[in-house]
């Protein structure tokens, strides 16, 4: 008799149960926001975050403080979970990845003002195409990678707000309108081996927008604003959450980790939805484990936790429901590290740590072709990502997704052509 699928064995918690689990993290953050800062500090910090240009690399912990950052992340998460609830969507791996990516980037560029023009653009697109909004929700949630376009134009043009604010919002709507057909098509370029496909799409689109702006004399300046004062509290917060999510998964999987090793056998190539392949329980366990693995990577390098690093960790945790697991991500992280040691890059800088974490967008290459290819992909990724941000001026928050798309588009056909057999 074949072994029953884990998803048939685990406790059935239903759509609402899964949504409630997704609410755990934003609920914790909302409570912590007002425990760590006063309401007036939170609101003041939020205002400062909204009017900042938000291009890479903007750490909201430094701009607005920890209370405002947690509040911002929790509100964006609550709103998106509510949209999923209202549209009656089944909670799948892609939606979990999208929610955690939004939470993560709420620490470094997405805020309660600059993401909505993208949603409005998406809404206009579905009206134009006469399709339902829920069909494109995943794409629109990820597409908020281009949220800095709105902020940069609205608050960074050094002109009257009466002019710059509508311009920023219109550009955001425009991006939301065109990103759906673009992102679907871009999948073919890397054949599903770059998990952050929207990052690749947004990178190309950001390059176009940046070029247009430069042609009209508008130069977007990249920046590096990083916090250093929240290291311990972030470590405690993340560790606590990852342990909670592992326990939740353990309970759903009938108080067992049985079947977890099965997840390690998947290549992780798009579309690997672990909620369907192994069930929700083991997916949550994998998310917690990937969170702890990512934290260990940062701690082992003796690097201070800040907003961008937390953002990268949450993104990995989200994609641990949709392609990532320890076996296909660790080689990429080590590949980035090796590159950092032998090249001119500082392995302890936030941008290199981010490359190591976000570089796991290439996990499917390691998953399919093995450890050596994973190491090579990580190595190449770092060299690429360190030189590519300038093309789009930092307005694409998923810079590593852009780089990952290019690396995968180059490596995949090469690896496929030298592979033996059919």
């Amino acid at each position: 008799m074949p072994e029953p699928e884990r998803r048939d064995i685990e406790i059935k918690i239903g759509r609402l149960g899964n949504l409630e689990i997704l609410l755990i993290l934003p609920s914790i953050m909302l409570i912590m926001a007002f425990l760590l800062d006063s309401p007036s500090d939170v609101l003041h910090g939020l205002y400062k975050m909204i009017i900042s240009p938000d291009v890479l690399l903007t750490d909201y912990l430094e701009i607005g403080g920890i209370g405002a950052t947690f509040f911002n992340a929790s509100i964006l998460a609550f709103t998106n979970i509510f949209i999923i609830y209202k549209l009656k969507l089944k909670v799948n791996g892609a939606l979990i990845a999208a929610i955690f990516t939004i939470i993560g980037f709420s620490f470094l560029g997405k805020n309660i003002f600059n993401v909505w023009p993208m949603y409005l653009g998406g809404y206009l697109y579905v009206k134009y195409q006469k399709i339902e909004f829920k069909n494109i929700l995943v794409i629109i949630m990820f597409s908020t990678a281009l949220a800095p376009v709105t902020s940069e134009l609205a608050f960074g043009l050094n002109t009257s707000l009466w002019i710059s604010l509508p311009v920023g919002i219109i550009f955001g709507i425009f991006c939301g309108f065109i990103i759906t057909p673009l992102s679907s098509h871009m999948n073919r370029l890397h054949d599903g081996y770059n998990l952050y496909n929207i990052g690749f799409t947004a990178g190309l689109l950001g390059t176009l927008i940046n070029s247009l702006l430069k042609s009209f004399g508008v130069n977007i300046k990249q920046q590096q604003i990083l916090s250093t004062e929240y290291d311990l509290i972030l470590k405690l917060f993340l560790t606590g959450f990852f342990i909670i999510i592992i326990i939740v998964g353990f309970i759903i999987n009938r108080k067992s980790f049985k079947g977890y090793t099965k997840i390690l056998n998947f290549s992780g190539r798009l579309v690997s939805d672990y909620t369907q392949l192994v069930g929700y329980g083991l997916t949550f366990v994998n998310m917690g484990i990937m969170g702890l693995v990512s934290m260990f990577y940062v701690i082992a390098l003796n690097v201070t936790f800040n907003g961008p690093i937390v953002g990268a960790i949450f993104t990995i945790v989200g994609f641990a429901a949709f392609g990532k697991h320890p076996r296909n991500t660790i080689p990429i992280m080590i590949g980035v590290l090796i590159c950092g040691f032998v090249t001119i890059f500082d392995t302890q800088s936030t941008i290199v740590i981010m490359a190591g974490l976000f570089g796991t967008t290439l996990a499917p290459l390691a998953g399919k072709y093995g450890i050596f290819v994973g190491l090579m992909a990580g190595f190449i990724h770092l060299t690429m990502v360190m030189n590519i941000g300038i093309i789009h001026g930092g307005i694409n928050l998923y810079n590593n997704g852009f780089s990952g798309g290019l690396v995968a588009a180059i490596l995949f056909p090469l690896l496929n052509s030298i592979k033996k057999g059919d």
């Binding site: 339902e132 069909n135 679907s184 690997s272 369907q276 392949l277």
Partner: protein, 113 residues
């Protein structure tokens, strides 16, 4: 619906891939368009496939249709799949039926418009 024919082609391509990766020599394909749906049937009388593999395919195809996934990822269907990614087809169809009595396999998929 936009790209409907291309999506049907991708689904068929994917299922044929399963048959050929299990050593079939002849595959019969039928695609029927009705007022409300597309009905795709793929059948072979000679396929070398374990019961576990057939059940695995059934599990992967038997997931709820997810239009949000389809809109984003449909272009990946039919490209170099490893086996466990057949769930993309499952996300693109409303009903799936698998009949496997070795060495004969029949896959029937219904996709509502």
């Amino acid at each position: 619906m936009k790209y409907e024919i291309q999506k049907i082609s991708k689904i068929v391509e994917e299922i044929i891939d399963f048959f050929y990766s299990h050593s079939t020599k002849k595959v019969n394909i039928s695609i029927e368009e009705t007022e409300t749906s597309f009905i795709i049937e793929v059948q072979s009388d000679h396929i070398i496939c374990s019961n576990d593999n057939a059940k695995h395919l059934k599990d992967l195809l038997n997931v709820q249709r997810q239009r949000e996934m389809e809109e984003y990822y449909w272009q990946l269907a039919g490209n170099d799949l490893d086996g466990d990614e057949y769930n993309l087809v499952g996300m693109m169809v409303d009903e799936s039926y698998i009949d496997y009595i070795a060495p004969s396999l029949k896959v029937k998929l219904i996709r509502y418009k």
